[in-house]
Amino acid sequence: MVKMLLVDDSRTVRLVGRRIMDKFGFEVHEAEHGEDALKVIRDHPDIDAVLLDWNMPVMNGLDFLKALRSLPLPKQPTVMMCTTENDMDHIMLAMEAGANEYIMKPFTEDIVRDKLEVVGIL
């Protein structure tokens, strides 16, 4: 079963994300910000994929991504940014930091499914 971590400070976005991931049969974990997400990763180093917001309190998505990529995990998870930051500069920054895909909010179930297919999770 795919283990998915949803990282977003919006409870509503996490709820919508969870509903979509439930349909795909994924095991879903949640975090409210980057620091929280790092704790989840330490507890569950076998997380397969992360759906990651950019702008969050405490630790933003980009800083989390950089920290995640420096962790000595048995297998690095696939990271899909999921953010309202939709200009080329932000996309480039995220990709350079090690993001695998990029979803521009607002998203739909179809978009999430297509992107999961693109990265080979579905």
Binding site: M88, M95, A99, D110
Partner: protein
């Protein structure tokens, strides 16, 4: 919807465009045609039917046909046909055309352009030798002039560019602007756009190395499907390929094509080539 209005529109669409609506598609008619009626200042389907009966202008007919034949489409839909185009078809086509160095691909129902642009991107990505003196023409046809104009512009919304397209391809082949995302000229210029009804002659189009005719034959009845497929076969040389939608087949419809070996997508060789899985298209209903 009044059953007589449904029957009238069903017959109208069959005669005007060959679209076989069948039974139980009232929801489809309503969802597509109520906006058309409203745009003309009519109250709904009933008044639209009256307008077609009393003032059947070409513009009115076109609006109805175009509303009914436009499909949802996404980039690299079903993936397999695009991967197999690059990995399996193209090496054989490159060999067959090494003297002419000209390749022609036809998208027979290109809708809003995602399919021809996906083909152009796939070839750029996977067959780099094409940039060295090869002439590649992708001909995209559709019944709907309005959708062709949109496709030619190559302008897509944020939602559209997230359907089937990886972020790497988006960054490489699109430019962001105030309206959304526009495909770059290097890809746009690979595609030629033409209005075409699949019930009309294909002779003026010339021959193609590959024909993509995906998810459009479902709108035609068996006789018209056969007629279209039989007329597509001569548009292909012996080394040519026909690509249908994943849920489509020529089986039981026509003998003009044989299923191509080693393909997971619905790929066919013209029967006149004498190759492929002979006999796979010979069962008639």
């Amino acid at each position: 919807m009044d059953p007589s209005d449904y029957e009238f529109l069903s017959n109208f669409l069959m005669k005007a465009s060959g679209l076989n609506l069948g039974e139980g598609k009232a929801y489809l008619l309503e969802s597509r045609l109520i906006p058309v009626a409203q745009s003309l200042g009519l109250s709904g389907i009933e008044e639209l039917v009256q307008a077609v009966k009393t003032m059947p202008t070409p513009q009115l007919k076109t609006s109805i046909i175009e509303a009914m034949t436009t499909n949802e489409t996404l980039f690299f839909r079903d993936k397999k046909p695009f991967n197999e185009l690059a990995d399996l078809m193209m090496p054989k086509i490159l060999e067959a055309k090494k003297l002419q160095r000209k390749i022609r691909i036809w998208c027979a129902a290109s809708s809003s352009g995602q399919e021809p642009y996906s083909i152009a991107m796939q070839l750029k990505e996977c067959i780099p030798e094409l940039s060295a003196g090869w002439n590649v023409e992708i001909v995209a046809t559709d019944l709907d002039n309005q959708i062709l104009a949109k496709a030619k512009e190559g302008q897509y919304t944020q939602f559209e560019v997230q359907r089937g397209l990886s972020i790497q391809m988006l960054m490489k082949y699109f430019e962001k602007n105030d309206q959304g995302w526009q495909i770059k000229p290097e890809i746009r210029n690979c595609v030629t756009w033409k209005q075409l009804n699949l019930l009309d002659s294909f002779n003026h189009l010339g021959q193609f190395d590959v024909i993509f005719c995906r998810n459009v034959l479902i709108y035609f009845d068996t006789d018209r499907k056969k007629q279209i497929l039989d007329r597509m076969a001569p548009q292909l040389p012996k080394h040519g390929y026909l690509v249908l939608g994943g849920a489509e087949t020529v089986l039981g419809i026509c003998d003009s094509f044989n299923r191509a070996k080693d393909y997971r997508a619905a790929v066919y060789n013209p029967a006149h080539a004498g190759i492929g899985l002979a006999g796979t298209a010979s069962i008639r209903k």
